[in-house]
């Protein structure tokens, strides 16, 4: 790498990637339903272009295991005629794939400008306090993981919290998020609405 003449360096940390490469996990095969779903997705691409379905296949692994295990990725590689390294290469690039075990509910607070201008930092802080964990951690019960996320494309509803890559909680405040946690604890999945503004409409 090159060096900037005026730059001070912190020794030992040149590269900023802190991504963890997956652990082995349990032995893995898709459930028959998921396998059928993947086969259906494969029909949408030319037969010699199976690789296009790799993101879809990884979503299915994540759905089954909760995160991407090395065994899961190898299984995908086998189906799509790729090497395990090729699958891992893709998997480690995209932020919606978890490379280590996460909680049952992953809370992702948008931290980009419009959300931050509307109080996202306070939302993150209050969630962190309520759950007793820092950003990036999972609580001891294995129920919640707290993460930060980049702009979700809903800045008019800032701040936004996304749960499990699918469900959105908009116009978040420390109070509404505290309630969300309580609701999830009480009702589980039922507390999540996809996109709560839609439900309000």
């Amino acid at each position: 790498m090159s060096f900037h003449p005026l730059m001070e360096y912190d020794p030992g940390r040149f590269h900023h990637s802190e991504r963890k490469i997956a652990d082995e996990g349990a032995p893995f095969v898709f459930t028959p339903e998921r396998r059928a779903k993947l086969d259906e997705i494969l029909t949408e691409y030319p037969p010699e272009r199976k690789r296009s379905a790799v993101l879809a296949a990884l979503y299915l692994v994540q759905e089954q295991e909760g995160y991407l295990t090395a065994n899961g990725m190898r299984h995908v590689a086998g189906i799509l005629d790729l090497t395990p390294a090729e699958v891992e290469d893709v998997a480690t690039y995209y932020v919606m794939f978890f490379k280590e075990k996460v909680g049952k509910y992953v809370l992702q607070v948008c931290r980009t400008l419009s959300c931050a201008l509307n109080g996202a930092e306070r939302v993150t802080e209050s969630l962190s306090e309520k759950l007793g964990i820092k950003v990036g951690e999972t609580d001891p019960s294995g129920m919640f993981t707290l993460l930060e996320f980049e702009c979700l494309g809903a800045c008019d509803r800032a701040p936004v919290v996304m749960v499990n890559n699918e469900h959105w909680h908009e116009h978040a405040t420390p109070e509404s998020c505290s309630k969300l946690i309580d609701d999830i604890k009480a009702k589980g999945e039922a507390a999540l609405s996809g996109c709560h503004l839609k439900v309000e409409k």
Binding site: M1, S2, H4, L6, M7, D10, H16, S17, E44, P46, R49, R51, S52, A53, V54, L55, A56, L58, Y59, L80, D89, V90, Y93, Y94, V95, M96, F97, R111, T112, L113, S114, A116, L117, N118, G119, E121, R122, T124, E125, V135, F149, E150, C151, L152, G153, A154, C155, D156, R157, A158, M162, N165, E166, H167, W168, G194, C195, K198, K201
Partner: protein
């Protein structure tokens, strides 16, 4: 102007096929299928439609560039990655007007001779994707998509492809790489996607909003379209206003509308008791404008003349409670995080800038650091494979240029001196 693209977004059933058909839905497609593909392209060219994804490139021209004499299949790639911070217009179009997106894709396919349109939607829009999938199934059922569309013998499929969280996947060649099941890293251009795109076949990459403009042009004609908006910036445009405004949201207007009108009339202005400090007119990647620069039409050309870019028309508004050193750091975190890592200036430079800005924001920086920003950012802008590099350099460069005294205050006082009522209570030094 009466909204064209978003007229029915508040109707509870506005997104359904039945509703769409009652309101001239798929009429543009019918008319297009009765025309020669070349004539459709000519029509889009004459309308002056410019791409809404960021660059403002003429859409008709892009379609004309798609290779004609080739045995290879051709594709439309509908860019629904919408990740530019501050942008949320395609979100609304897809969720509330999905059939308009399909109609645009189908006309595009007819025009360039493609048999498949792939909609690459960002993974976070899963609830939107479900709406699209449900409506697409209905459109297939009723013969608007699939084999022998409307009995004309034209076959065309639409496939929805889910991304997995990567800003860079919005760049057209990175989108193609990602679509092919690889990392979202751009390709070297040329060849442009029009010659070699998806699976190395000719491909037109078009933004969602761009494609949504096409049915109206075909149905209502070029004259109608060019009557909306100033010269060379025709048609309806969606603006996303967010940040410190009273009524953030998506607003449809012509490009005659000024930035000031958009912020103060449409979006209700800044919060009561506050003053406007700075505005980012086109998504986080473009240079910011000051309050006295807002009396210009929000068009591609006028915003460019003012030294910025209309980009994705994402207007982010900041009032006087906003510390500009913090803004630069917040956005730099984004670019450092999202850099695809393919070229060194962007990958390493972004990290350096973030570190310098962090120390300045914490009050641990020196005056020399302020000049260092210009030096490092200057070595990123214009020296990278894709425009991401320029985008990453912009926030740091424009904040230093316009608000240098705030950076100096941080150094002198050793802390942030801008009071704010929304920053974290315990934002620890060097958090993140």
């Amino acid at each position: 102007m009466d909204p064209v693209l978003t007229r029915y977004v508040r109707e509870p059933n506005g997104h359904t096929l039945d509703f769409f058909l009652q309101h001239q839905g798929y009429e543009g497609l019918k008319k297009a299928l009765a025309m020669k593909p070349g004539d459709v392209i000519e029509m889009v060219k004459a309308s002056g439609l410019r791409g809404r994804g960021g660059a403002g490139f003429p859409t008709g021209l892009k379609w004309q560039f798609v290779l004609k004499d080739t045995p290879l299949p051709k594709y439309i790639a509908c860019n629904a990655d919408e990740s530019e911070p501050g942008t949320f217009k395609d979100h609304v179009l897809m969720e509330r007007n999905p059939h308009l997106v399909f109609e645009g894709c189908l006309i595009g396919c007819w025009a360039i001779g493609a048999k498949v349109a792939y909609i690459y939607i960002r993974g976070e829009f899963y609830h939107v994707q479900k709406v699209l999938e449900a409506e697409l199934a209905k459109a297939y059922d009723k013969g608007y998509v699939g084999k022998n569309i409307l009995g004309t013998g034209f076959d065309c499929d639409i496939v929805i492809h889910r991304g997995a969280g990567a800003y860079e996947a919005g760049e057209e060649t990175a989108l193609i790489e990602s679509f092919e099941g690889k990392r979202a890293q751009p390709r070297i251009k040329p060849p442009f996607p029009a010659v070699s795109g998806i699976y190395n076949c000719p491909t037109a990459v078009n933004n969602v909003e761009t494609l949504c403009n096409v049915p109206g042009i075909v149905l209502n004609g070029v004259e109608w379209y060019t009557s909306l908006g100033p010269d060379k910036n025709f048609g309806p445009k969606l603006y996303c206003v967010s940040g410190h405004v009273k009524k953030p949201g998506v607003y449809e207007a012509t490009m005659k509308t000024t930035l000031r009108e958009l912020i103060f009339d449409y979006a209700g202005g800044v919060r009561d008791g506050h003053r406007l400090k700075a505005v980012i007119p086109g998504g986080s990647s473009v240079p910011m404008l000051l309050p006295d620069q807002l009396d210009i039409p929000a068009s591609f050309d006028d915003v460019a003349k003012a030294g910025s870019m209309l980009g994705s028309a994402a207007i982010i508004v900041m009032d006087e409670t906003t510390c500009m050193v913090w803004v630069a750091k917040n956005l730099m975190y984004f670019y450092r995080h999202e850099s695809c890592g393919k070229c060194t200036p962007c990958r390493e430079g972004g990290d350096w800038l973030y570190k310098i800005l962090t120390r300045l924001e914490n009050g641990e920086g020196s005056m020399r650091d302020i000049d260092l920003i210009a030096s490092v950012a200057g070595n990123i802008a214009g020296k990278t494979l894709c425009p991401f590099g320029d985008a990453a350099a912009a926030p740091a460069l424009t904040t230093v240029k316009n608000f240098r005294s705030e950076f100096e205050d941080h150094v002198r006082e050793g802390r942030c001196t801008v009071p704010s009522d929304w920053r974290g209570w315990r934002v620890a030094a060097g958090a993140h």
